[in-house]
């Protein structure tokens, strides 16, 4: 397992474990993150993402193992660490009855900013979040994308070197999400280290490295491209037929009866995707099965898996 050097790497986690009674929420996780890296975590609900982040923030004590954030041990040095770490949670913790500017000021003061520095950071955050001209709008009346950028601004008002983002983009539309990621990469360019958890595959694709979490364990960790090469069990075939619904029905039936080794069958608009152990081997079988049942097959093509295909495959294997 990777060890990492707490004096060099901003986040180092060694054999970290958290048990709640009989339940192991985080199960011997080890990894480290480079300075300025955008490191993503993908995992089902309950995989241990939030629990790990809470340990890294010093909000929860590990059962065993260690973690270092900027060289500090969050379990004992949370106070010293606080000034250098930012955190944005799933529920943007903004005060809805305050204006955008008031929220920024409130967080600034909570982090001990005052006077000129506070005014300067306020202006920078408003600019960054694209809220110039909307300073006096009540937060409750801002749309999802604005709120999200405001929440990020509040989380980084004290210019932290490490930022934890826990599902920061839930329920935000694609355009706002892209804008948000521009901000994340802007921070990373300035040397800020970002650990982000997400449910969206397209976002995971944007991370330099991605960790798959399942049942408290880190089951894979690599660049999105490398994950696709290493962790996909089986190959994806895309089937185009004159009647996709009929094709789907037949393939589901074949799967149930064990006539074809189909790991997954799913409708994608006018196509059906099927995961098979070997694309070349089963291409013809699938076409034949459909043709015999009177479904006209236009094409059966071997396509590259998406990160979601790979993730689901890795979770099932683990």
């Amino acid at each position: 397992m990777t060890v990492g050097d707490p004096s060099k790497h901003p986040i180092v986690v060694q054999d970290l474990t958290k048990k709640f009674g009989d339940f192991t929420a985080v199960d011997h996780i080890s990894f480290y993150v480079q300075r300025g890296e955008v490191y993503g975590w993908l995992g089902p609900n309950g995989a241990g993402k939030t629990t790990t982040i809470r340990m890294l923030l010093g909000l929860l004590k590990p059962t065993s193992g260690r973690a270092f954030v900027l060289g500090y041990d969050p379990a004992t040095q949370a106070k010293e660490m606080q000034a250098h770490v930012g955190y944005m949670s799933q529920q943007f913790t903004l005060y809805h009855d305050l204006t955008a500017r008031e929220n920024i000021r409130f967080y600034g003061q909570a982090y001990g900013l005052s006077g000129r520095r506070l005014r300067q950071r306020e202006a920078e955050i408003l600019e960054m979040a694209g809220l110039v001209g909307r300073e006096r709008v009540l937060t409750a009346n801002l749309s999802g994308g604005w709120k999200q950028r405001l929440a990020l601004g509040c989380a980084i008002i004290h210019e932290p070197s490490v930022v934890f983002l826990d599902e920061p983009t839930a329920g935000v539309d694609p355009i706002s999400r892209r804008e948000f990621w521009d901000l994340i990469y802007g921070m990373a360019k300035r040397g800020v280290t970002v650990l982000v958890t997400t449910h969206y595959m397209d976002e995971a694709e944007l991370c330099q490295r991605v960790g798959f979490l399942s049942r408290g364990r880190l089951i894979a960790l690599d660049s999105p491209d490398q994950l696709k090469r290493t962790y996909m069990r089986g190959q994806v075939l895309e089937i185009t037929a004159d009647d996709p619904d009929a094709a789907m029905k037949l393939l589901l039936q074949a799967q149930r009866e064990g006539r074809l080794p189909l790991k997954e069958v799913a409708l994608y608009g006018a196509q059906v995707h099927a995961v098979v152990p070997d694309a070349a081997l089963y291409k013809a079988d699938i076409a034949a099965l459909l043709q015999q049942a009177g479904v006209e097959v236009v094409s059966v093509e071997w396509i590259a898996p998406t990160l979601e295909d790979v993730f689901i495959s890795a979770v099932k294997e683990s």
Partner: protein
């Protein structure tokens, strides 16, 4: 009446009166959903997706235009619609202190399903949603993904021909999200259920047979996912520049560049001519000491098309605004 059309709206308008003045949430929407189709209504926050869905269902009164489901008028025939349509609202809440089974029974009674039929359907639905083992668990104690599946099962107790789902997988993890969509795929293929779904997820839009893109109350594009993906300008180059911001501005100012989108550390550049512009971009950036890695042509996905279509619509709106004021 054309029985093949399940949902139909014609010049549908919904205006709200607010303290700040009138807001037109739905602005002349005309759409048709054929029987057995999975229609995805996509668009940014506040585009009017939820309002459109509620007006179609008759939960909100329309201001003008027409809306029907299965030939029944949304406003006049609410009762007929209720019995033939299943609906999951965006912020739905199942009674948390009722068990999974009790929830299904509750919705069965609500829709007037008789006890004998109900027993059999509930057994089928528990199996369908993979909730057999959790029959006796309180709904409030289910995971997020299981709650969504239970909500789907509850919306199916009266065997509706049409399902309207408003962002049904919001906040759900990828595994549960895929399972949920596989259930929808099953309903489509095995039962021929017509599905109308609002979603902010572009990968979900790819699973629909037909997609409507909504922006500021209007439908700005409507077609199959395959066709929507061709509604981008030119062809798409992807690469990682060594100097991101500088490269972005430089490339945007070059000839033959139709649009620049950012994608993490990558730039997505739409060009009129791949071979020519690729060489020009590399040369131009090299002059400034910027290198490009992993340059390749990629096929635009729904997300790139969505961003491009919305951007162009915004530009058009801005230009119209400028014309009006001038």
């Amino acid at each position: 009446m054309d029985t093949e059309i399940t949902i139909r709206t014609t010049n549908l308008v919904k205006r709200f009166h607010t303290r700040q003045g009138d807001v037109t949430a739905v602005d002349g929407v005309t759409l048709q959903v054929r029987r057995g189709e999975t229609y995805g209504l996509i668009g940014p926050d506040g585009a009017g997706k939820t309002t459109t869905t509620r007006v179609i269902l008759g939960l909100l009164r329309r201001t003008a235009g027409e809306s029907q489901i299965l030939g029944f008028d949304s406003m006049r025939d609410a009762y007929e619609i209720r019995h033939r349509v299943g609906y999951i609202a965006q912020q739905f809440a199942l009674p948390p202190d009722l068990t999974v089974r009790e929830n299904l029974e509750f919705f069965g009674r609500l829709h007037g399903v008789d006890t004998a039929t109900q027993g059999q359907r509930i057994a089928e639905l528990l199996e369908f949603a993979g909730l057999n083992e959790f029959e006796r668990r309180q709904a409030g104690r289910l995971s997020g993904g299981m709650k969504k599946k239970l909500a789907l099962a509850c919306s199916l107790v009266h065997e509706p021909e049409v399902l309207l789902l408003d962002e049904p997988t919001l906040g759900v993890d990828p595994v549960s999200r895929r399972e949920f969509w596989n259930l929808l795929g099953y309903l489509r293929a095995e039962k021929g259920v017509t599905i109308f779904v609002c979603t902010p997820y572009m990968d979900e839009a790819e699973r629909c047979t037909w997609v409507g893109l909504m922006y500021e109350g209007k439908l700005i594009a409507q077609d199959t996912p395959a066709v929507i993906k061709t509604m981008v300008p030119g062809r798409l180059l992807e690469f990682i520049p060594s100097e991101f911001v500088a490269a972005k501005h430089l490339v945007a100012s070059m000839e033959g560049i139709l649009e620049v989108q950012t994608y993490g550390v990558m730039l997505h550049v739409f060009v009129d001519d791949v071979v020519r512009r690729r060489a020009e971009i590399e040369a131009r950036l090299a002059e400034q000491g910027i290198t490009c890695s992993q340059m390749r042509e990629i096929t635009p996905r729904m997300e790139e098309a969505f961003i491009s279509l919305i951007r162009r619509q915004r530009l058009r709106t801005a230009e119209d605004g400028a014309d009006d004021s001038g």
